[in-house]
Symmetry: C2
Subunit: 332 residues, 2 copies
Amino acid sequence: MPEIRRDPVSGRWTIVASTRTERPSDFASGKISKSKKNCPFCPGNEEQTPPEIYCVKSSKENAWRLRVVPNKYPALIPSLDAECLKSEGLYKRMEGIGNHEVIIETPDHFRQLHEMAEEDITEVFKCFVLRIREIKKDKKIKYIMIFKNYGRHAGASLAHPHSQLIAMPMVPMRVEGELDGAKTYFSQKNSCVFCDMIREEISFKKRIVEENDFFIAINPYASRFTFETWILPKKHLSHLENTQEDYLKNLAGVLKSTVKKINHSLGDTSYNILIHTMPAQEGASDFYHWHIEIMPKFSYMAGFEWGTGFYINTVAPERATEILNLGKIYDK
Amino acid sequence: MPEIRRDPVSGRWTIVASTRTERPSDFASGKISKSKKNCPFCPGNEEQTPPEIYCVKSSKENAWRLRVVPNKYPALIPSLDAECLKSEGLYKRMEGIGNHEVIIETPDHFRQLHEMAEEDITEVFKCFVLRIREIKKDKKIKYIMIFKNYGRHAGASLAHPHSQLIAMPMVPMRVEGELDGAKTYFSQKNSCVFCDMIREEISFKKRIVEENDFFIAINPYASRFTFETWILPKKHLSHLENTQEDYLKNLAGVLKSTVKKINHSLGDTSYNILIHTMPAQEGASDFYHWHIEIMPKFSYMAGFEWGTGFYINTVAPERATEILNLGKIYDK
């Protein structure tokens, strides 16, 4: 059983999951095998994954468009027991209760996000919404993080297009920080900081990467990473899982165009995509606004960033927007 | 002039320093040239760095043991003007005022930290103390972070042994978080959380990597990174710059032995070393305790960690201690 340990100084949590060292060696070396050979996510190799949790069938007989399976090397494990904080002298820990699932986005090993059909991307988001709604029925689950690691520098271990979902028994520190910041802003200005940011960006124009009636993609003012891009619904909405289907279709379009621009300007760069949404057990919020963060990774994080949470970005976001929109190639 | 931008949601700061893209191409590709050829930190190439700030001469004529120079591609730049927070609509920013220095630890291009003489390591720490005392005379400087990036995965751009110092006009968010946590602990227990941790580790025994009369090196209970190691002075002390010289000699011994063990068990692994100390303008504190964090880097940080500040560590710290102390080789 993995355990979750709390740092007594900062309150930050670490999952100590020794089972994960049993992952295939392509992970350990930091290399990703791009070959289809032995890919556990490819059609025909379904028995290599733990039993399927959810599946979208294709119109072709016996074929699938999307599968959800438990992660074979889970960071957290479901349990019927109630979670409970235990003391070890000065320290505190919990059992590693939760869910760790893999969403296999397409049967096609080589079709990356920006090459997928919009309706297939919509299907992926519909699946996220369904899985969150299902998992949050378990009141022990306090936060559900959905993320995608693409490429070696972003921590990916397998090349086949997939996202991951981790459902955990507490709200993580960095999410708490964002919620607190948004709450403080709301208490001062009586408006949502994300809604105000969207208004500001629409009037300033120089940091907009993509926009339709429902969503906007921007390079945020204080981008930590070169070409960091956020996608936000224009209408205020705190929970991803309460997003209507017609919105998800529009999101698929904006996400695809945005990643296509990033791919065009930066080449086959590694990136992380994260979905930031309200804690699972909380009701609709006036102050928080769900959104997606895309973080290209082409340099290594250095000591200064680790020590301070203070980032150094060598390309101003306005310049990043210009490069992305003019279709220029960025010379790394 | 670089600028420091504040994220309006989380309050996190980013330095937007476009000048740093002019760094030599070995940085951009993420590769480090190990060769001495054209190394700006090697003796004979002194004119390749900006003019020297500080120097420890060798007994040999015209030779040096250690040099401090301004970073040629600084993230922050000294200024006589007072810093001031400016508004840009919803957003806030400051001019990128501060110091960014490089401490060239030895004239020997190939001598890594664990191979240096203890007295040379002592000299490096004496230099840190001197530079902090000098820089904090400028009351605009609120925090001084000293760090070392070794190896490609840790974000190093040059192979020649060196550390860096960044002095900045605000206390960064992650440092604030640590200070707040320590303050809260003190208010509840009337003792320093770090002092209590040292007592706990000495009695538990299983996470101690090195120890002498003055310092202890441990794998902390909630280690974020595999083989993460902290070094703490046993006596309560909040500021590195108030550490006495005989302590620094003892620190050099513990640091050298610790990094030697890490190098033996993990091979030539990248690592970051960070010094956590009190904010520059604050007086001696009962609740905070300066310390060093060593973070080996042999896998890439993935989306989950970014999104949550919640880490997954596949080797329990007690196991890491065992491997380091038995002199085993860890099979990555």
